[in-house]
């Protein structure tokens, strides 16, 4: 395959964005899902809906609000551009910021499902052996939810790879900064360069297929054979 340097750049940028987003979301998502699974308040439903919103809203809606949030005309935007040393619109940092919000449900939902299924029983058992809460999370809940974690990370990564609408709204198509594969592909089609569009589309298809297959394989390996209830079956079902 004959791929132009600009397309390689777009691919590298996309993988970097998806990887960074997955890493950040793992760090944010684990404690968030854990706290949510333990929280027994009416407000919990409100928060859960808020986290699910990016799943159902058109990406343009999300992009529009993010554009407003990043705007240097208002206080939040000014504060953010101070914090990140430059405006977030049309920047890679802005894309990471947006992707974290855009892919949040794909990380939190599988983790929440796993913590809800195992969480209370195992947390009670661990606390009743004198194990403090943070150790319970790291040494009991995370190992018990390994299959769900693999699935959550794979979904987050794959979902971020395919991001289009939000990027278009807040990132534009600056090569090496915000031009991800989906945008480059769109531009090839616009310019009627179908050969290049095919190559990028196939590559994205290939990467995501391999990724999801690998996640399934790993998920099955992590769930011991012959077990019944403890397995994270419903979560892996999302991938099927």
């Amino acid at each position: 395959m004959n791929i132009a340097a600009a397309d390689w750049q777009a691919l590298w940028l996309t993988l970097k964005l998806a990887g960074l987003t997955t890493l950040l979301l793992f760090i944010i998502g684990v404690p968030l899902a854990w706290k949510l699974s333990q929280w027994q308040s009416r407000w919990r439903h409100g928060i859960e809906v808020l986290i699910t919103l990016p799943l159902v809203l058109p990406p343009t809606v999300l992009g529009f609000y993010l554009l407003l949030l990043f705007s240097p005309n208002y206080a939040p935007g000014q504060w953010l551009s101070q914090l990140f040393d430059g405006p977030l619109v049309f920047s890679f940092t802005g894309l990471v910021f947006a992707s974290v919000i855009y892919s949040l449900p794909f990380m939190v939902q599988p983790l929440l499902a796993a913590f809800n299924a195992n969480g209370q029983r195992l947390t009670q058992a661990a606390a009743a052996l004198g194990i403090p809460p943070w150790v319970v999370l790291l040494k009991v809940l995370l190992p018990a939810s390994r299959a769900a974690i693999v699935s959550a990370c794979a979904l987050t990564f794959a979902h971020t790879l395919g991001e289009f609408g939000v990027v278009l709204m807040i990132g534009g198509a600056i090569p090496g900064e915000t031009q991800v594969v989906s945008i480059a592909l769109y531009q090839h089609v616009e310019a009627m360069e179908y050969g290049a569009a095919h190559r990028l589309a196939l590559m994205l298809m290939g990467i995501t297929t391999v990724l999801l297959l690998a996640a399934r394989w790993l998920g099955h390996r992590l769930a011991p054979r012959g077990s019944s209830s403890e397995r994270a079956k419903p979560v892996m079902g999302v991938l099927g």
Partner: protein, 372 residues
């Protein structure tokens, strides 16, 4: 959710007891009859009663895993005062569940190591090895817990709790899925032996009266969320019978240890030697040992029998006869200030012309003494 206040967990003036003190504990279950408990710092207590009577709720409340009001103090530390409660992991206790709740995604060894690491009184290495052997867990150590059977999982869960060695140990039907022969032959003697060397305050909940008879001297009775004071075991047996809960045809007998050679234990029961084989526990001369004798394992003779492979022969007095619903007769026998039961057929009873107040000879094999 628990609210933890800094003033909690520190020494308090409310109670000076070094044991467990529970005053006016109220849950939605027992609004009319608050629970009271006053227990020493060590000892084994049974807890039994009909299903759904609130036994598990009591344990959950002591562990701080359910809402309640009232005061709980253990070892001079306030665990609960009014509605304010100390978080579970800050209480010096352990609670074992009937459904085992092993930590998924880890091996048996991983589960045990975690419980030992957060123990407030870690056991010495050799003690852990001894327990592993007695519980038959050694071959399972490297298995993922998901592959264990129900009985194996329960054994691991109890062992995990022993490795934790908390000052207050609460058990909720912990051996219900383990086969009875193993429980009586290996596990109960091991537990009794363990707690004699590593004293703790233990509350053992079970529907199986044999477990309670072998472990505890006294037992709480819980019925419709009413908690009794600690009762002597015969009274608990009567209550269980009247509720049709337990069908215990095993009698508890105590005797003094004479010697232990090659797994054959010689006991002194009112001046007569009796023998038990395949003994699992550790005994020294002079110890008091309790064992269970199954009513169906005892045979009765009118005259003193001659030499026999049946090692044990006791002179007994027939106290009472009772017809069982299955056509057999249950005999209440007395020997050396102790009472036990023997079930025989109606035909035997007629042939031997058994009469109350008369002396007979009871025989039973060395293998029929359970729980030693």
């Amino acid at each position: 959710m628990e609210i933890t206040l800094p003033l909690f967990g520190t020494a308090s003036t409310i109670s000076d007891s070094t044991g467990l003190s529970v005053v006016g504990l109220v849950t939605p279950l027992n609004a009319a009859a608050p629970w009271q408990l006053e227990l020493p710092a060590s000892g084994i207590f049974g807890l039994t009663g009909p299903s759904g009577s609130g036994k598990s709720t009591l344990l959950a409340v002591l562990a701080g895993q359910r809402h309640c009001r009232g005061n709980i103090t253990f070892a001079n530390t306030v665990w609960q005062r009014g509605r304010r409660a100390l978080a579970t992991h800050k209480r010096t206790l352990s609670l074992g569940f009937q459904d085992s709740r092993l930590f998924a995604g880890q091996s048996v060894a991983g589960n045990l190591a975690l419980a030992r690491r957060y123990s407030r009184r870690p056991l010495p290495e050799e003690e852990c090895g001894r327990l592993l052997k007695a519980f038959g867990i050694e071959p399972l150590l490297h298995q993922p817990v998901e592959l264990l059977s129900g009985g194996e999982a329960q054994r691991v869960a109890v062992l995990r709790q022993l490795f934790n060695n908390a000052p207050l140990q609460l058990f909720d039907e912990p051996l219900s899925a383990v086969d009875r022969a193993r429980v009586l032959r290996r596990l109960l003697p091991t537990l009794r032996d363990f707690w004699s060397r590593y004293p703790a305050l233990v509350i053992w909940t079970s529907h199986d009266f044999d477990e309670i008879q072998l472990l505890a001297q006294r037992c709480f009775w819980m019925d419709s969320a009413n908690l009794s004071a600690p009762l002597p075991l015969p009274e608990v047996a009567q209550r269980l019978d009247s509720h049709g809960v337990g069908d215990s045809c095993r009698s508890r007998i105590e005797a003094r240890v004479e010697s232990l050679n090659d797994g054959l234990l010689t006991l002194d029961l009112g001046g007569i030697s009796i023998f038990a084989d395949r003994v699992a526990g550790h005994y020294r001369k002079g110890d008091t040992a309790a064992f269970l004798l199954e009513a169906g394992d005892i045979s009765l003779s009118v005259e003193k029998p001659g030499l026999s492979s049946i090692l044990n022969c006791l002179q007994v007095t027939l106290v009472a006869k009772q017809n069982l619903t299955d056509g057999r007769i249950r005999l209440r026998l007395a020997a050396a200030d102790q009472v036990f039961y023997a079930d025989i057929s109606r035909l035997s009873c007629e042939r031997l012309e058994l009469r109350e107040g008369t002396t007979y000879f009871a025989q039973f094999k060395a293998g029929s003494l359970a729980g030693l």
